[in-house]
């Protein structure tokens, strides 16, 4: 952490976006995390992505659980809505918010402890339901906030800072998300913004549950030799399956690539995802193949990153439930409370 606030001064050539904001306008309060924490890089990537997408900050709601990772919403998008919920309960609070106001962009920020231990069930269920959100798990393999105990994503055999070896099997959140029906699944690394920023932009543009499992080294408790979530380990074992270029809806897409090397996916909102293939046989539209691939490569000790799976046409929770198009806060009392007669009619249907 730092004692002084980041000076308001910025580079004289700092660009502005369509709303007239600079990237700095998307920052939050000064971070209190440890110097060098991967989570701060993810915050910076979120800031960059929202700036580039010309997002009006008040259209975003950030929700989180408990942990160093879950503290980060304080450190980006200082002008957006935020809710720091209970440990592992971010998904349900977010689901409720999304049900009430479907117009906001929902960023669910969580950690591996928050998601894979106490919030494991919540994680699974919001994927199943297709809540329209970006679920970012800042995955460092430990409970950072409580001083570095192994979390459920720590790889079997990896070493703690004090030397203890993890004997439990690891939960792979990307595989789990695939299994649970998430319609957008990606993995990235906090130390690689070139990969991470376009993935965040694509995830924000995606309708449905978009999961980003971002390996994010805990410099204080899990960045030593023997850790599989350290900067060095991830850099040495990172295998990207593709390279994503996010093309916003209003931009013409240029077809300047060799056939068979690039795939183009059109998302619900009209944006395009240009995917340069780094592994020729990897197909991000095949859920089953993706699952198998992840298992295989994990067994070989690789950390597979990139856009792992996408179904751009999947319906989301609002579609499943047939909810009204308007967010509830924009409906008047009469619409929201149609009266005793209507209640009677509805009740009668169940008699």
């Amino acid at each position: 952490m730092t004692y002084i606030a980041k000076p308001k001064l910025h580079h004289p050539g700092l660009p502005t976006n369509k709303l007239g904001f600079t990237r700095r306008d998307y920052e939050g309060r000064i971070s209190t995390l440890c110097a060098g924490c991967g989570h701060d890089s993810i915050s910076a990537a979120l800031v960059q992505a929202c700036f580039e997408l010309d997002i009006a900050p008040h259209r975003v709601a950030k929700l989180s659980g408990i942990g160093c990772s879950s503290k980060t919403p304080d450190y980006f998008l200082g002008q957006s809505h935020g809710f720091n919920s209970v440990h592992g309960r971010m998904p349900s609070v977010l689901t409720g918010a999304s049900m009430a106001n479907r117009d906001l962009i929902y960023l669910g920020v969580s950690g591996d402890g928050d998601s894979a231990s106490i919030g494991f069930g919540q994680f699974a269920h919001c994927m199943r339901r297709g809540v329209n959100m970006v679920y970012i798990c800042e995955n460092n393999g430990v409970y950072g906030l409580t001083k570095g105990q192994f979390s459920a994503t720590a790889d079997k055999g990896s070493k703690a800072k004090g030397g203890a070896v993890n004997s439990d099997s690891a939960i792979d959140l990307a595989s789990l998300a695939l299994l649970m029906g998430a319609s957008f699944v990606a993995r990235s690394f906090s130390g690689d913004k070139k990969q991470l920023v376009p993935l965040i932009k694509a995830a924000i543009a995606h309708k449905g549950s978009a999961v980003l499992d971002v390996i994010s080294p805990c410099v204080t408790f899990n960045n030593h030799a023997g850790s599989t979530k350290s900067f060095d380990f991830v850099r040495d074992h990172n295998e990207a399956v593709n390279k994503l270029d996010f093309v916003p809806p209003e931009k013409e897409i240029t077809v300047d690539y060799e056939p068979g090397t690039t795939e183009v996916v059109r998302q619900h909102d009209g944006s395009f995802l240009k995917l340069a293939k780094l592994h020729s046989d990897y197909d991000p539209s095949d859920r089953v193949a993706a699952l198998t691939y992840l298992q295989e490569r994990a067994a070989a000790g690789e950390v597979v990153t990139g856009l792992l799976y996408i179904d751009a046409t999947a319906p989301d929770l609002h579609e499943h439930l047939g909810t009204v198009d308007a967010p509830l806060n924009r409906m008047n009392e009469k619409e929201l409370c149609p009266g005793a007669d209507m209640l009677e009619t509805i009740n009668a249907e169940y008699r």
Binding site: K6, P7, F231
Partner: protein, 593 residues
Amino acid sequence: MAPTDIANPDYFHKVVDCQWACPAHTPVPEYIRLIAAGRYSDAYMINWQSNVFPGVLGRTCDRPCEPACRRGRVEKEPVAICRLKRVAADSKDDIRDRLPKPAAQKNGKRIALIGAGPASLTVARDLLPLGYTCVIYDADPFAGGMMRTQIPRFRLPGHVLDEECGYILGLEPETRFGQKVESLKAMLAENYDAVFVGCGAPRGRDLDIPGRKEAVEHIHIGIDWLASVSFGHTTKIGKRVVVLGGGNTAMDCCRTSRRLGGEKVDVVVRSGFAEMKASPWEKDDAMREDIPIHNFLVPLEFTHDNGKLTGVTFEKVKAEYDAKGRRKLIPAGEPPVHMECDDVLVAVGQENAFPWIERDIGLEFDEWDMPKVDPATMRSTHPKVFFGGDAAFGPKNIIWAVAHGHEAALSIDLLCTGQEVTQRPSPLVNVLSQKMGIHEWSYDNDVSLDLRFKVPHAPKELTLKDVNMEVELGFNQELAFKEAQRCLNCDIETVFERNLCIECDACVDICPMDCITFTPNALEGDLRGLLTAPAKNLTQSLYVSSELKTGNIMVKDEDVCLHCGLCAERCPTGAWDMKKFYLETAKAHTCSR
């Protein structure tokens, strides 16, 4: 790009924009911090060491440091470096016991100094404590040169000048004041070990147009007139005055006129207002005293009534630029303008004159009749004769005169100790970490957002009545503190230790100014474009590391770094540190002997 060689003192020195730009390389941020800490005497001594006349310069310096100041690139205006210097001088305690004492033992070497302006006085100050006998000649009966005869007292009070000249005279040079040197040959025959020529550029240019001879009584050469005011010979001027010229002398002439009875004083320049030579603040000061500046008017004729000046006629011109962008003034094709006046002050330039230097003594002059002087050593083509100040390369200013003086003194010391004059000793450099704790630094790294503070002035009604009343009141200590806090501490350098970096990006993410980028290496031209914020200011360096583990290099654009230390605070491994870079240029006393 090749990795930056930070062991070369020039690298970090250049980052301290103000110090680099200061001809005498005053350690500016160090003294500004001392002012903020209320340590005025310490701040004064740092200045005195470098620029010899802190009280004078804190009021009159041409301040080349300010346009260079990093703060001016980060927000609207630079730090008021010059006026902070004055605060050190005004608020210090009695510092006399910190000054060098007259040498207890003489070294037997005798140096003649011609002229008692800032250049010669600097040479004397540097050499006297080392045991040299310095004999200072001046045609005038006192020390100070143009600081005394030209700069008006309402900008520079006499007591400030007396005090600072006094510190040097206290080192007991031999003075031959009131003695004009008529022959350099004769001077060299007196067996001096070296001669320093600091005679300035004493001649004011004239304007030879019709009417000049006839109306001579009311047409005055600006610098002669100012000297005459300074000596007390001139105490009055007509009600209507026209000042010709757009330099600082013109500004002093018009403002002095306003104090000696000039009610309607006009400045007229040939060029455009923007291209005037006068410093912007001098123009502001003149206009604040109700002196209009008329531009694009070329004087044609002095009109007179049987020898009594009645005014000046001007031709209107306009600027035209040729293909190479050179400006030409061409007639605007409008009827001439006539300005009525009682007196004219001609302030159209200043020239050197060396009638007393013989041309057959092995001292060569160039095609412009200026002595050939080596800018590094200040030596002429005569091995024992050195030049400095306005005499060396034409009219400049006090701080350049001081800078020349230091170099000349160093050369003279090298010469007299039998060393090679061209072998300059290296500067004294100290680089020291400022880390006090995890988030604690020895300096205040929280960047002030205050805009530049204005120096308060005495009421115009009073200052216009008294030619000796100082206009500027100077910052009080409270304002000085706030202004000092605007300094970005550019001497607290960001120092990168490649072996410690784990490439976690923390510094990149926190840097408020987007200074830092990790990128594959490239040639400088390409690299500048590849950075998070393209490095478009080519005058500012890129700090480049050798290759890191991932194959990337670290590149820091020094241009707009706030020296806030956040990169170092956020670095988990201490790969960044904030280190204070202190540089003192080599002076005569740094030589080996």
